[in-house]
Amino acid sequence: MNIQGENKTQNRILSLLPLWIVIGFFMIGPLLVMAVVSLMESNVYGGVHFKFSLSGYRQILFDTNLFDEIEFNPAYLIIIARSFMLALAATFLSLLIGFPAAYFISRQSDRVKNILIFLVTIPFWTNLLIRTFAWIIILGKGGVIESSFNFFGLLDEESSLNLMYTNSAILIGLVYSYLPLMVLPIYASMEKMDLRLLEAATDLYSNRIELIRKIILPLSMPGLIGGSILVFVPCLGAFIAPDLLGGGKKLLLGSLIQFQFSYARNWPFGAAMAMFLLALVILVLIFNARLNRKHREYANQK
C-alpha cells in the first residue's frame, strides 16, 4: 500500500484530528475537570468553592458531627459493599443462566445460530430504562406476579408480597439488563471450539460432566472472563435498576453519584465518588488485561 503513501503522516493526522478533538475535549476534558472538582470544597449553596480540599474523599469514610469532631461513618461504605455484592451476584447469575444458553446456541446450524444470536442482541439495542420499568409491572404491587398469586388463591387481595424495593428486585433488574453482554463473548469463544475434542474425550470414557469441566470450560475461558467483566463493570455503576426497582431507598454507587448531582447538590463529594468508581473500573480492566495476557502466553506455550 505504499503507493497511497505520498503524504501519509499528514493524511493520518488530518483524518484522526476530529477524533482527537472531540474525544479529547468532550470526554477527557470532562474527566479532568471532574478530578479537579473532586478536590474542591463544596459550598452551602450547592456549588463549588474553589479551594483545595480533600473533604470530598474524606466524606466517603468520615462525617463531621455536631461538635465539629470527625467520626467514622459507615453509611457510604455499606453502599459500596452492597454495590460490590450485587454486581458479583449479578455476574454469577448471568454466568449460570448464560453459559448453557451460549453453548446451546453455538451448537446449532449456521442459519439458526445467526437468528438466535440476533435475538440475544436485540435487547441490548433497546432502551434499558423501558426494559427495566417493565419489571415494575411484573414485580410491583398488584403486578403480574401478585395478580397471578391472587388468581390461584395463594394471596388475598389486601396483602402484598413486597417484591419491589428490595435487593432481589435490583438483582433481577441487573441480570436482566446485562445478560446479553455475558452470552455474546461466551458464544464467540465456544463457536471456535474444536468438536473433535469432545468426541475424543467421549471415546476415552469421559462423561458429560467431565466434558464440561475439562474441555468446554477451559476452552471458553476467555469468553467467560470477558463476559464477566462486561457484566460486572456496568453493574457496579448501574443507575436505572437501583433507582426504579430499589426505589431510591437501596442506593448503589451509580444512584448515589447521581443523587449528589440531582438532589443533594454536593458536587465535590459526588465527583470524588465518581473518581472512586472510575478507579475501581480501571483496576478491573487492568486485571482483565493481565489475565488475557497470561491466557495468551499459556496458549502460545502449547
Binding site: Q4, L19, I23, F26, T126, Q258, F261, V281
Partner: protein, 270 residues
Amino acid sequence: MQTKNKKRKFRYVWNFPGFGGWTAIFFGFLYIPIFILVCYSFNSSKFAMIWTGFSFRWYAKLFSNDDIQTATINSFIVAFAAAPLATIIATFSALALVRGGEFRFREFSSGLITLPLMVPEIVTAVATLIFFASLGINLGLINVIIAHTVFCIPFAFMPIKAALEAMDPNLELAARDLYSDKTSTFKTITLPLLTPGILSGFMLAFVISIDDFIITLMVAGGGATTLPVYIYSMVKMGVSPEVNAVSSLMLAFSIFIVTLYWFFNRKINN
C-alpha cells in the same frame, strides 16, 4: 434399543440434555417482560396493572400530548445531528487506523475510540455535566448533541472498521496502477465499497443516541428533554398505560432499525 442408544450417543456427544430447555427459559426471561409491557399498553383501564379490555385509547392519547411530541422531536433532532457527526468522525478514524499501517499515535487513537465504552456511563454523565456547568456552556440541545456524539463514536466505528478490514486492498492498488489518482480512487473504489459499512455504523449510532437515557438526564437542562428522559419522569410519577404505549412505540422503533441493520449486514456478508 441398545444399539440405537449407542448410535445416538456417538452422534450427539456435544449435545447436553436440558440445555435446549434452559435456552428456551433464557429467551423467555429476555422477552416476556417486553411482551407484558406491550400487552398492557393495549389495556383500556386507567390503572396500568388491572386488565379490563383491549383498546387503542392510550395510543390515541399520545397524539394529543404536546409534551411527548416535543420530547420526540427533540430526540430525533439530537439523533439526526449526533449520529452523522459520530459516523463521519468514525469513518475518517477507521480509514487512518485500518489503512494507515503502523504509526506513532495508532494505539493511542484506538484507545481514544474505546474510551467512552470503558468509562461507566454514570461517570461520563456526571463529568459532562460538571464540564458544561463550569465552562458555562448552556446551549440546550447542542449540549446534548455534543455528549451524544462522543459516546456514539465507538458504535459507529465498529461496523465501519469491520467493513474496511473485509475489503480487498488490491482493488485500490489496481485502480492506482491504472493511473487513477488518489482522490478518484477513493471516490470510485473505497467509498462505494465502504458505504454499507458506513450506513450500518450510522444506524447503530442512531439507535444508541435515540435510546440513551443517563447521559441525557444529567446533561439536558429544561427545554431539552428527550423522550427517554420524559418517560423516566412519567414512570417516577407512577406507571400508567400511557407510559406503556409510548414505551412500546420506542421499543418497536429500535427493534425495527436494528432488524434493518441485521438484514442489511447479512446482505453484505453474502
